[in-house]
């Protein structure tokens, strides 16, 4: 039976955490995602017995996640850009120790203290590894409140499938806006004990230890090779994307998250004016759909790609890598908490590709 609700993005994400059978949430208030901690503080423990703890900082939050994840439980945190910056050390340790966990970043404008308005300025940090060392998170980019729900469950599944941190990379608008969502049924809390988890050493197995320290270079290189092999496998298996109207398109708009929806509207406006515009949206930012974009770029009918983001041009670097010179890639970005309008995107299409359109 479908359970439909009108929910705010942050609250929908929190509700999905409870329903995913999440065992523990550790967080620290920061606008524009404090509703996650608030909602869970009110709802979680009474419904599933889930642990919810307001930590003294994001540094503490992520390390509490490390501890809980190290016992094989479903653990998560959420924050917004400056808070996520504080977590980078912990994320690097989690990635190396191969602990499954979920981290939601409801991005706001930066750099610095920046603004509390929506932004996509943390793409590089999330996708390229914001902490030290060679590691990757699986990064999911929701573009609707529905995906704020769906990606929580998917995120936990992927985290445990790959023993890897998963990040939901949303933005302040998705966190604050209300939409109709379909909620999945309550999933049971975890009862099985992971073979690698530190839960107390019984007589019949060797001790388990969680660490990211391998001081001999040959061992540390092997750990790195193992991680890279895993990231390659993730790249083969977990790419997710959505595309609409790209088959006959002269112009393709690329964008992730909220911006992809703005692009969708811009494409409608363009088609009403007779310009064939399609939209391509990566749902996973790591792994990134390079091959799919390259395929689109190889279409001889295509005049070019306009990448739109709420930053100075971050994902566009990956789009250019994918395209590899096969077509022209233009960029339009807004920063500091400004959300581009569909009309603005349409105007950019006309400005960048004027004269080339039939």
């Amino acid at each position: 039976m479908k359970e439909l609700k009108l929910m705010k993005g942050n609250e929908a994400l929190a509700e999905a955490a409870i329903r995913s059978g999440c065992d523990a949430y550790f967080g620290y208030p920061i606008t524009p995602q404090s509703e996650v901690l608030e909602y869970l503080s009110l709802e979680a423990e009474k419904r599933t017995g889930m642990t919810v703890l307001q930590a003294e900082s994001e540094v503490a939050s992520i390390n509490m996640v490390y501890g809980a994840a190290g016992t094989g439980k479903r653990a998560m945190t959420s924050s917004s850009s400056p808070g996520i910056s504080l977590m980078q050390e912990g994320i690097s340790y989690i990635a190396c120790a191969e602990l499954p966990c979920l981290i939601a970043n409801v991005m706001r404008g930066g750099p610095g203290l920046g603004t509390i308005q929506p932004s996509q300025g943390d793409y590089f940090q999330a996708v390229k590894g914001g902490g030290h060392g060679d590691y990757r998170m699986i990064v999911l980019a929701p573009s609707t409140v529905q995906e704020m729900v769906d990606f929580v469950r998917l995120g936990f599944d992927l985290a445990f499938k790959w023993r890897n941190p998963v990040m939901i990379l949303a933005d302040g608008a998705l966190g604050q806006m209300m939409e109709k969502v379909e909620l999945f049924e309550q999933q049971p809390r975890k009862t099985n004990i992971e073979p690698w988890a530190t839960v107390g050493k019984p007589k019949d197995r060797e001790r388990n230890f969680i660490t990211s320290l391998h001081i001999q270079p040959d061992k540390m290189e092997n750990i790195n090779l193992h991680l890279q092999k895993k990231y390659n496998e993730i790249t083969k298996e977990e790419i997710r994307f959505a595309s609409s109207g790209c088959e006959d398109a002269e112009i393709i708009l690329t964008g992730f998250g909220l911006v992809a929806r703005i692009c969708q509207k811009a494409a409608q406006l363009a088609r009403a004016k007779g310009i064939k515009v399609g939209v391509f949206r990566p749902k996973t930012l790591f792994p990134f759909p390079y091959a799919e974009i390259e395929k689109l770029a190889s279409n001889p009918k295509l005049k070019g790609i306009l990448d739109v983001e709420m930053n100075a041009g971050q994902m566009v670097e990956d789009v250019r890598l994918a395209v590899n010179g096969k077509t022209r890639v233009e960029f339009h970005g807004r920063m500091g908490g400004i959300v581009p309008s569909p009309e603005e995107v349409l105007a950019k299409i006309e400005e960048k590709f004027v004269g080339e359109l039939v």
């Binding site: 390390n63 509490m64 653990a75 050493k201």
Partner: protein, 273 residues
Amino acid sequence: MNEKTMLGENIAETADTQEVICCPENLVYEKPDTLLDTPMHYCPGCGHAVTHKLIAEVIHEMDIQSETIGIAPVGCAVFAYNYLNIDMQEAAHGRASAVATGVKRVFPEKFVFSYQGDGDLAAIGTAETIHTCNRGENILIIFINNAIYGMTGGQMAPTTLPGMKSTTSPFGRDVATMGNPLMITNLVASLPGVYYATRVAVNSPSNVRKAKKAIAKGFEYQKLKKGLCFVEVVSNCPSNWKMTPIQANKWLEENMFPYYPLGDLKVPNDKEK
């Protein structure tokens, strides 16, 4: 017994004697199964090794190996999980008490302890330490205070004594510019969340026995869900103090103990109930 026999060079001749001596009736001490055979990397005379052994003995004697999770710090004890035969997690520098919180919150029935040095616990991890104590997390924190950064090679610690030389206070700690030693155990003892706070040492047989009792109390109170227990071990660092083990222990008694007096800082009120 001649000298050769004492050195074990004449084993064949003494084999019969050994058989008689090594029998269960004569067994007075056995290495606990909670301590692994891995040779420790600690320098000769270092207090870490003894403290590790005490933890292993307490866990063994309480028979809680299968219910105990330890958190190792960054510092000399970073490899604690190589020596203790229990499930352990290695935390980022200073974050051991936050990691311990994460473990304890999802497994409240398990025994959880963190093992941290002075730089880890009282410098980079001060916020985590204070707040874990203030929440009264039902865990045991074992704090090794040797007034120096051991692993990185003898830099000044938050607990380095006034006037004490280190590689980053080469002319002695000048409290006017470098601050005073942080008496973090006194500080956390003032928090309602802390149930038991004590300061012990492992420099002499009698102090070793007292230290073991304190660690055992920490686990016992945890079993009774009394709140946070904090055991400071005033320890040494012969290598970075640039002393022999004997000199280091003498210096410890003459300089560390006056500044960090041994004894309980907060004891449970037995009349409560």
